[in-house]
């Protein structure tokens, strides 16, 4: 009875509220905002009025890397609802005050039950990580549909809350690529919603459609009617016919007075004169000026993208619980690499040979640190390019008989057959420095940390055991 009484009591200790054995943390405007510490709490209560700040806090929480943070239930302490897309879509509701915590109990119970069912496998691919986060958020909130919301602040004009929150508006084109991949994997079904046109240079949807001079792209032009005088075939703008004495129109060529349109003159065309370059033209060009990067796009060269409504499939729901691990197929096809299955088979042969002849064999790895963040900055295509560059560095320094394979999209495994361990170790150090220099030169936008090392294969060990001895420490980083 006493326990039940304590459970029902709302105990307030500074910003921490305890109720029904759950710890609520009240985020206030004066707080030093530290999402990392939210792992200690079960629910966040946002006591912030200002919309932009509220939006910022929610975005920071929902885009946090730690699942305990980005899945945490968020409620807003307020009596009125907000119109803002991010706030509404990514928070779990509003309550008037902490005295009304009982109102959110059922919802909270459901969310927490769903969160508890979720497994979080270590995923190193940025793309997989994003898919997992989206599915996790949707599943825990009981959402089946991922609707595109027209959103002014979105780079592509539409916002998929659970996914777009992870991107700044310059990179939002990646959202569409990730959703396409998820659809291809059968995690979503889609329905066409709208088509958007994006800047060819930066993929921004902030476009200013303008009618411009075909020559200089200026939209400052003056229109002029051309008048054709039938008897003498004179053609010129109306000013040519105006005189300073009266309001009559007199032909400058034959001095006759123009009296009746259609009978002795007509206006067959309109000419525009550009006030910037004085070019004369009859038809404006329509150009789309990107307000983000300033590129003048020909409308026919804009990037056209379908905006779809996504519905989570049964497979998607299962993946939401069990996790989505995608050893990117694209990477497997990079030249000079073999698939992981083949890598395992070849490694098996090596171990067998080691057993038979007793020579030295090593296995090495190259790991890209914080691959998810790097992927976020570079985008999928660039990330693939990066991995390709690294494979080429490896291939040019290894023996032709050595084999290289992707363990996942951020870790490459390779054999180092028949080389003395110490010698191989020094080669690895050189390769790491070479690769680091290459990355600094080629990828200025982001710092890419590399880890490389080599492990000597032990007599009698199994293939999986050998691989695990390498990758396990990496997945814990």
């Amino acid at each position: 009875m006493v326990e039940d009484f304590e459970k029902d009591q709302i105990i307030v200790d500074g910003n921490v509220v305890t109720y029904h054995n759950l710890k609520y943390f009240i985020v206030e405007i004066n707080d030093k905002f530290r999402p990392d510490t939210f792992t200690q709490y079960d629910v966040l209560l946002l006591d912030v009025r200002e919309e932009s700040l509220l939006q910022y806090i929610i975005s920071q929480v929902r885009s946090h890397l730690n699942p305990r943070v980005y899945l945490i239930p968020i409620f807003i302490l307020n009596t009125t609802a907000y119109d803002e897309t991010v706030i509404n879509s990514l928070s779990d509701g509003t309550i008037p005050s902490i005295n009304h915590l009982d109102q959110i109990d059922p919802k909270l119970l459901d969310i927490r039950a769903r969160i508890s069912r979720i497994n979080h496998p270590k995923v190193l691919s940025f793309e997989s990580q994003m898919i997992n986060r989206t599915l996790n958020l949707m599943y825990t909130r009981g959402k089946k549909k991922l609707d595109p919301i027209p959103y002014f602040h979105s780079g592509i004009g539409y916002y998929y809350p659970e996914l777009s929150v992870n991107f700044n508006h310059r990179d939002e084109i990646t959202v569409l690529k990730i959703l396409n991949t998820a659809e291809d994997e059968g995690l979503f079904q889609s329905e066409f919603h709208e088509r958007v046109y994006l800047c060819n240079s930066c993929h921004s949807g902030y476009l200013n459609y303008r009618e411009v001079c075909p020559k200089c792209n200026s939209s400052d032009a003056t229109a002029q009617d051309l008048v054709h005088h039938f008897p003498c075939a004179y053609v010129g703008p109306i000013e040519d016919f105006q005189n300073s004495i009266d309001d009559q129109l007199d032909c400058p060529k034959c001095n006759k007075t123009l009296r009746h349109i259609g009978v002795d003159y007509d206006k067959p065309s309109v000419l525009y004169t550009c006030n910037s370059c004085h070019h004369r033209f009859q038809d404006y060009y329509t150009k789309a000026k990107c307000t983000t990067c300033g590129t003048e796009n020909d409308v026919e060269h804009l990037v056209s993208k379908s905006i779809k409504r996504y519905i989570m499939t049964k497979k998607g729901e299962s993946v939401a619980i069990n996790g989505y691990i995608n050893i990117e197929k694209q990477l497997e096809t990079l030249s000079g690499t073999v698939t992981m299955e083949i890598f395992r088979v070849l490694l098996q042969y090596e171990l067998q040979r080691l057993h038979n002849v007793g020579y030295q064999t090593n296995i090495g790895y190259l790991h890209v640190e914080k691959a998810a963040q790097v992927g976020g900055v570079l985008g999928l295509e660039k990330q693939k390019e990066l991995m390709n560059d690294l494979v080429q560095v490896l291939k040019s320094n290894l023996n032709p008989s050595d084999f290289v394979s992707f363990y996942n999209s951020s870790t490459i495994l390779f054999s180092f057959v028949g080389t003395d361990f110490e010698k191989a170790k020094s080669t690895i150090t050189e390769m790491q420095s070479l690769a680091s220099r290459l990355l600094t030169k080629s990828y200025e936008k982001v710092h890419i940390g590399l880890r490389m090392d080599i492990v000597s294969l032990k007599l009698g060990s199994e293939v999986d055991q050998s691989i695990n001895s390498i990758v396990t420490p990496l997945t814990k980083m």
């Binding site: 075909p214 003498c232 075939a233 053609v235 067959p268 065309s269």
Partner: protein, 427 residues
């Protein structure tokens, strides 16, 4: 045999028309002139090179204007031949005079792809002159080259048509050399091919040399921009190319034919179409030479002897001799009725001989041809009928129609609204 039998005086009496007019003007005068042209060209070869050098030194902007209706299908070919030009400092202005086919779509696409500099569409058709004047309004070049859309041009045509302006400051306009592209298509086109090679091209070389060149072809003609602005562009046609040439001559400027500036065009391929074209051309002689510009014949402040001679020669050889030919025919019928079959055969023989002589000998004076002269050899006998009968009859009909009925004002070549007004004020 006949000459020995009847004597030379009798021969002249019967064939006076041929000997005194046709042979003298179109063989003797032409041949002598061509010899002088050849000599002058050799003598002035360094002046020509100097003119060419000055053109390239100045590199003036040339405005190429192409007015037309429903010409879209020809425009791409035209732009292709213009892109090959040695002289590239030009702007290409296409005016669509109320086309009702795909011309607008084609031209807008070509403009977007940079083949055309300016494209103006007149929603309502205003006629060729208004189209050309619209282009003139936009043109910024020092020289204006008027082209027909269905023509194509030698790669040095634009350069060659501009050079004469640098040879002589008094040259106001230069006519290009129009050749027949489809001369192999039919007998009609072959006859016109022969006519263009011989009568038109050689005829214009000679008349240009004699200072009486009258028509800068609308298919290929270059004009000084300042003079075009002074005469305020083209007047309503048909025959607007001849009309503007007269206006330039009246300003006191010389008109030059440049046989080295070559353009090729497709001519009518049936007698019906050819008749229609020639009726239109021939009516303009009466309308413009005898009516609109009749002041050339009378003494006045700006009287010019060369203009007078130019007109007189034109009127004499096209109109008066046309009438006189009928007098000649009557003379023969009434006075030499018994000899008629012989006279006809002899005439054919004389004219064929003259045509053959011209084809062979004048070929020595042509710097550029698009067809081997041998191709036309088999057509030599037919030329007598083509020139002597077909063209003469068409010309006669045109004169009658224009003299008595002012038919040119009813020609659908111009929109009715403009023809009515032109008729009202008598131009």
């Amino acid at each position: 045999m006949y000459l020995q039998t009847v004597g030379f005086s009798k021969m002249l009496r019967v064939f006076w028309f041929f000997f005194f007019f046709e042979f003298f003007r179109y063989v003797v005068v032409d041949l002598v002139s061509l010899i002088f042209i050849k000599w002058d060209r050799y003598r002035n070869r360094y002046d020509y090179l100097d003119a060419k050098r000055r053109l390239w030194l100045e590199l003036p902007l040339v405005s190429i204007i192409v007015p037309g209706k429903n010409e879209g299908k020809h425009i791409f070919k035209l732009t292709t031949s213009l892109q090959e030009q040695t002289y590239t400092n030009f702007e290409l202005i296409i005016v669509d005079d109320g086309s009702d086919d795909d011309t607008e779509i084609i031209c807008k696409s070509l403009k977007k792809n940079g083949y055309i500099d300016y494209f103006v569409r007149n929603e309502v058709r205003g006629g060729k002159a208004s189209g050309a004047n619209t282009a003139l309004r936009i043109a910024k070049g020092k020289y204006v080259v008027h082209l027909d859309a269905d023509c194509s041009y030698d790669f040095d045509a634009i350069e060659n048509i501009i050079i004469p302006f640098y040879e002589d400051r008094k040259i106001g306009a230069v006519g290009g050399n129009v050749m027949v592209r489809n001369y192999r298509e039919s007998v009609v086109t072959a006859l016109q091919g022969f006519e263009y090679t011989d009568a038109i091209s050689i005829g214009r070389m000679v008349s240009s040399y004699l200072g009486i060149y009258r028509v800068v072809s609308g298919a290929f003609g270059a004009f000084r921009m300042d003079l075009l602005q002074r005469v305020q562009g083209w007047d309503i046609g048909p025959g607007l190319d001849g009309d503007i040439t007269v206006k330039f001559r009246k300003l006191g400027y010389k008109i030059r034919f440049e046989d080295r500036a070559v353009c090729q065009t497709s001519v009518p391929n049936t007698f019906q179409k050819l008749t229609k074209q020639r009726l239109r051309w021939d009516k303009s002689l009466v309308r413009f030479r005898l009516r609109k510009h009749s002041d050339v014949f009378f003494p006045h402040q700006n009287f010019s002897l060369s203009n007078f001679i130019s007109f007189l020669e034109n009127i004499t050889y096209t109109l008066i001799l046309n009438i006189k030919w009928y007098i000649y025919a009557a003379d023969m019928i009434f006075n030499f009725a018994s000899l008629l079959p012989f006279i006809i055969v002899m005439n054919i023989f004389l004219y064929t001989g003259a045509n053959l002589f011209k084809l062979l000998v004048f070929n020595l004076f042509r710097e550029r041809t698009n067809a081997p002269f041998s191709y036309f050899l088999i057509y030599v006998p037919l030329m007598v009928f083509y020139h002597g009968y077909f063209l003469r009859i068409v010309r006669s009909i045109a004169y009658v129609k224009e003299f008595f009925f002012k038919e040119s004002y009813k020609d659908p070549w111009n929109p009715e609204k403009t023809s009515i007004k032109a008729l009202e004020i008598g131009i």
